[in-house]
Symmetry: C2
Subunit: 213 residues, 2 copies
């Protein structure tokens, strides 16, 4: 970023991805524009918050009309980096790993899983959803061949840190971590945690709070 540019706040980024889902769902309808008021109503946010978010990514709307849906969708995608072509590899082809391999990433997320790796030889040598699963030992050679952007970690927690270091030393720029453990990596790599237990904690705590109310 430029000198004093700030990182976009995480809550804004999360909401932007929600706007995106809403807009994609609207695609089959024949409406061309949408106001922040309407978006807010559909997602149960406040209109001013939606306007602020869209302002942040540089969008300009028309009073009384709102925003052009096509333009809005594109702007969000490009802000989130979903128009680029991220080459990802997945490590850990267990149950979760397999589910991730089968996910339809090809529609609009700018990410493509090009290969998977597993420490267990019984899991390698196959192809899942068109993606080859190799033994972990084949990774360095694979990484040397082509550019890789994202590493998806879906191994048991105990193995995650080691995997992260291997990925880091092979030029990966981002790690999407599904193992419930904190990864320490050197600075220029983006790490985002996506393990289930964080959102589970949120749910179970909110349920307690609800009952106390």
């Amino acid at each position: 970023m430029k000198k004093n540019a700030r990182k976009a706040p995480a809550p804004v980024i999360r909401r932007l991805s929600n706007y995106h889902h809403l807009l994609v769902g609207l695609k089959q309808s024949n409406r061309k524009t949408i106001s922040s008021t309407t978006i807010a109503e559909m997602l149960e946010y406040k209109p001013i918050q939606v306007r602020k978010d869209l302002q942040l990514i540089g969008l300009v709307g028309r009073p009384k009309v709102g925003f052009r849906i096509a333009e809005l969708t594109e702007a969000i995608q490009s802000f989130l980096g979903w128009k680029s072509n991220c080459r990802a590899i997945l490590v850990g082809a267990g149950n979760l790993g397999k589910a991730l391999l089968k996910y339809p990433w090809d529609d609009g997320y700018g990410i493509e899983i090009v290969a998977a790796f597993d420490a267990d030889k019984k899991r390698s040598g196959v192809t899942i959803n068109g993606i080859p699963v190799y033994h972990q030992s084949a990774f360095p050679a694979f990484a040397a061949k082509d550019r890789l952007d994202v590493g998806i970690i879906a191994v048991p927690a105990a193995a995650a840190q080691t995997v992260a270091e291997v990925l880091a030393s092979n030029g990966i720029r981002g790690i999407w971590n599904f193992s419930p453990t904190h990864l320490k990596v050197s600075a220029p790599i983006a790490v985002v945690d996506a393990f289930f237990t964080q959102s589970l904690a949120l749910l179970t705590r909110r349920m307690i709070e609800g009952r106390e109310e």
Copy 2:
């Protein structure tokens, strides 16, 4: 909650679940206590933040020593509701649903998946990881029989709202939503989104920001 009690902030809850993972990992070591300073160092937080978080859940430490690990773990679990016995059902036995069914929830999350349901008859009639998968039509009868606390939604986005409403009208108190869509439910139900694309957005955006820096 009591009159003016506030909900615990989401970031605190997320960090608490991280502390929990750290402490569980420490179990096999024979250390008995840990200081907020040490926790902070291991997770790359600031010590003051850790202390504030632990203070929020009512823990008292000893100067120069820190907190008793066993006590700390218990306190976090009970604050997060992980010591209770939540009965959950899962709707949508696709790839992600199956991965969730196979996840080892039995160690320390206070949640148990007692049954799964799917709209596709080809997916029902089986047992996954000891959990029976029924056809969706069997749900009302099943729900009438026993107490259910949590509904896990892992169906395609287009079907999610309908499923949520069915769950809501069958006494569920919390929804863990893996479908990339916003669910509208009546007030007393806790809904937490856990779909992949939110964290993916965070990752891909951070990667862009990293490059610009």
